[in-house]
């Protein structure tokens, strides 16, 4: 780190610089002593930033034990401005956090909170907002907490715009409304909430590779409160509320509610809070970064935390690195670096696709790619199907593994399997007990009055909402959801069929197109109906697959009869669409009276079998759930396409028709089913 001024220089008359302390986003800070021997901190603000000094001058005469005192503002011979401040010798909250990668003892959290609240409420009481709270700005000097950089935020925002030098550190604590230029005191409440979360869990709620990604998460993502003890979730959720009008309004209230919640937990104050909700033994083993392109979230951070605590080398790194950066610095097993690197590249690509490409563009690109694939026959060619089947096998294995991992890590109290219904495999699935609002956790004794909402705070509701989240729908609501989705499905099926008809050479005649749209629509309707019936309820996967298989038999029979009725099969001039020269794995069982193929064309039984297996192979209800991770996921549809090809290969059934149908059904089900964006899920009152 290079600094402008060396030891023993005297840029300001009366002050001798002894050493540099640090470089912030906007200037350098030095330790200096006056001629009489008083130690001060000197903050150099470069003139070329055209800074406005009003903010600091406003705070020049504020006196509070929990605020770093500003003594004076001086100008040197170069016309640079210096802020003369109280020197605070102790460690910063940032340093303290580095020492507790798994979360601080609660007593320490309360100490920091008390000091910060006192200083901030003094500021707010004078109509001032700090705006740039972060652990590096909070100090503890001889047990007294001091909030630093008071009045400097104006500088910081100015310099941020002019120079891209700010560290990502600031962004972790920035309230969402700051992006819209709104700076109420709720901004400080939010930052304080983030710091409370970090002090308790050892990590910030929103991590990311870039400032943009983190800001986006502040705006849209819900914090994962599962790491916190149940009693504390409501108050942190209220402090991290996206909408400043709905957030806790002042720091005093936040402190009061936090203390009440701590009292309600009856946790020992000498230990970190997360110690109780997540025993170290249950933390996942350290996994290399490549293991979770998407699992960069809690799993990765926790694993890194364990690694950091476990090895001295990693502990040394943790002194200087934030968890997010740490993920890339913890040395993995030898030979992992290539995998890690490719994992990172892949992760970055996924992240780019998910965050930086606008949704309509994503849909259009996806549609175009699929059309090109189908048209060229690439997707339905035997090679592609072979690859697809291989990938499907790998993917299923992978998702099984990920699920096991997430269950281990969440300490799912159930082996009944309700947590396994994860659509987005990496999402945290709230367990049954917790989502029913009990202060759960088998390791913790049940406090008195458990299960009753605490006075003054709303009952806790899950904040990471997935298809596994239990919800209460009335029958009318279910009907409404189903009919809306089914109505929309008609339109979507029409569009999809039109795309296949005009975009590819799979459907050659209008009759085939009519058949295709009817089969797609019928399948989608049945799947949507079943999904909406099961939505928000608990249920065994196997049970649901069985029912879908039965439905598939019915749909297949109808589709087979329809094909015969339209003279597409079993007629003098059958359609080439339905012809297959594959004898399949099942094939004809003449002896058992099972006739699946009739001279290369599927019989009604063949249709029924195909649809039945297709319905069973995928967990279709997840594609229709209104809490699915995204309205439409291309990967889901491609898996459906491959599943279609696989089933067609097994039954046998015409491969191109089978896979295209599966793709179409998946697209129609996903696009048509009603969907709640993640940020609106909390406002539902169905939990």
């Amino acid at each position: 780190m290079k600094f402008t001024f060396g030891p023993e220089t005297r840029p300001l008359d009366g002050f001798t610089i002894k050493r540099a302390i640090h470089r912030g986003g906007f200037g350098e800070v030095y330790y200096a002593v006056t001629d009489a021997g008083k130690e001060v901190a000197l903050k150099l603000l470069h003139n070329n930033l055209e800074v406005e000094l009003r903010g600091v001058s406003q705070c020049l005469n504020l006196k509070h034990p929990n605020l770093v005192t500003i003594f004076d503002i001086r100008q040197d011979s170069e016309r640079d401005h210096w802020i003369v401040m109280e020197y605070v010798g102790g460690q910063s909250l940032h340093d303290a956090l580095q020492q507790h990668p798994q979360g601080m003892p609660l007593q320490q959290v309360l100490n920091w909170l008390t000091g910060m609240t006192s200083g901030l409420s003094f500021l707010h009481d004078r109509g001032l907002v700090h705006r740039d709270l972060k652990p590096a700005n909070i100090f503890s000097d001889g047990g007294v907490v001091k909030v630093g950089d008071v009045g400097l935020s104006k500088f910081i925002s100015e310099s941020r715009r002019s120079a891209q030098t700010q560290s990502v550190g600031t962004v972790y604590y920035m309230a969402p409304e700051v992006a819209r230029g709104r700076y109420g005191r709720e901004v400080d409440v939010y930052s304080l909430g983030i710091m409370l979360y970090e002090m308790m869990t050892g990590r910030v709620p929103f991590e990311g590779e870039s400032a943009g990604e983190i800001l986006m998460k502040h705006l849209t993502a819900e914090p994962d409160l599962q790491l916190l003890p149940t009693e504390l979730r409501a108050v942190i959720a209220a402090a991290l509320e996206k909408d400043p009008d709905r957030r806790i309004h002042d720091v005093e209230t936040l402190q009061q509610r936090f203390r009440e919640a701590i009292a309600a937990t009856s946790l020992p104050l000498q230990q970190p809070a997360v110690f109780h909700s997540l025993q170290p033994a249950e933390l996942p083993s350290p996994l290399p970064p490549a293991a979770g392109n998407k699992a960069r979230g809690p799993a990765a951070a926790l694993a890194v935390g364990t690694a950091a605590a476990g090895t001295a080398a990693a502990a040394a790194v943790s002194q200087s690195a934030r968890p997010a950066e740490l993920a890339e610095e913890v040395p993995g097993p030898a030979g992992d670096s290539l995998a890690a690197e490719s994992g990172r590249v892949f992760g970055a690509l996924i992240s780019f696709w998910n965050h930086d490409v606008p949704t309509p563009m994503r849909w259009m690109l996806t549609g175009a790619m699929l059309l090109v694939g189908l048209r060229s026959g690439l997707l339905t060619s035997p090679v592609a199907q072979g690859l697809g089947i291989g990938w499907l096998a790998w993917w299923m294995f992978g998702s099984e593994r990920r699920r096991e991992k997430s269950q281990e890590q969440r300490k799912s109290p159930s082996t009944t399997g309700q947590t396994g219904r994860d659509f987005e495999e990496t999402l945290i699935v709230p367990s049954q007990q917790e989502s029913v609002a009990g202060p759960a956790g088998p390791t913790r004794p049940q406090p008195v009055g458990a299960g009753k909402p605490q006075t003054g705070s709303p009952a806790w509701r899950p904040t990471v909402c997935t298809p596994a989240t239990l919800r209460n729908f009335t029958f009318t609501e279910r009907l409404q959801n189903a009919t809306t989705s089914m109505a929309l499905a008609m339109l979507t099926a029409l569009v999809v069929t039109a795309a296949v008809f005009f975009g590819t050479n799979i459907l050659r005649t209008p009759v085939e197109a009519v058949y295709f749209i009817t089969a797609t629509l019928l399948s989608s309707w049945v799947l949507i109906l079943m999904a909406k019936f099961w939505e928000g309820r608990r249920g065994e996967t196997l049970f649901r697959r069985f029912w879908l298989g039965l439905c598939g038999l019915g749909v297949g029979t109808v589709c087979g009869l329809m094909a015969e009725f339209l003279l597409l099969v079993n007629s003098p001039s059958p359609s080439a669409l339905f012809f297959t020269d594959n004898s399949g794995l099942l094939g004809n069982r003449e002896a058992a009276g099972l006739r699946i193929l009739d001279s290369g064309y599927p019989t009604v039984i063949g249709f029924a079998l195909f649809f039945s297996l297709l319905f069973m192979l995928r967990r279709w209800w997840l594609q229709s759930d209104n809490f699915r991770s995204a309205r439409f996921r291309i990967s889901t549809s491609i898996v459906a396409l491959i599943a279609g090809g696989l089933v067609a290969f097994l039954v046998p059934f015409p491969a191109s028709l089978g896979s295209t149908l599966a793709l179409a059904v998946s697209v129609v089900v996903q696009v048509s089913s009603v969907w709640t964006p993640p940020e609106q899920r909390l406002s539902r009152d169905q939990f």
């Binding site: 780190m1 290079k2 600094f3 060396g6 030891p7 023993e8 008359d13 009366g14 001798t16 002894k18 050493r19 540099a20 302390i21 640090h22 470089r23 330790y31 002593v33 006056t34 001629d35 009489a36 021997g37 130690e39 020197y87 010798g89 001889g142 047990g143 001295a312 502990a315 040394a316 002194q319 200087s320």
Partner: protein
Amino acid sequence: MPGQSLRSFRREIMTVPAASSDSFFLWIDAIGVWQVLCQNELLIGAAAAVDEVADIALLAPLSRRHARFIREEDAWFLLPLQACSVGGRLVTGKTLLRNGSELQLGDRVRLRFRIPSVLSATALLEFVSGHQPRLSLSGVLLMADTLLLGPRQDYHVCCPTWPDSVVLFRRQQQLFCRSKMSLTLSDSPLSEQQDLSAGAILCGPELRFRLEPGRTNSAV
């Protein structure tokens, strides 16, 4: 000039001229400041307005001669002159200090004694109770022969941002510096034979530190 008179005033009452290289301050940019004491016997006690006697002079309710740190070979001992306890136990005679020992002087002052590196007998005193000399210190180093500075936790001074380590070592009352990094002393490359006991500002890639001889943490 008023500033000038203040400085001379301060020098008169507070600064004790450095007799040799046996006491200096180590100022490290972005890290902190340590008082480095090289004697084999050191006095710790209360700071005094005139006639400072203690080598480690704390602003604390202590006697001016409260205890002595004594080094014999590679071991450090505490010789209490007033009420002292080590590891919670009141001690009356010379007591061996181990890595991690918590010392209490009088009723209030608590210090932690550490020997960070197994490679050297150099010890580190950390301020636990917040009682400090007149100017704030990050800690006090009781230097045996070597001082390791660098990015590792088990160095005497851990400088996480430094790319490599620096070794300060004493030979015949002189102080030298060695490093794999290319360090400069007033813009010219530093040689290992250069005696630094008169004070120096050393610069390297991403680092800068200063050795300031003196017993009292002087500002001038």
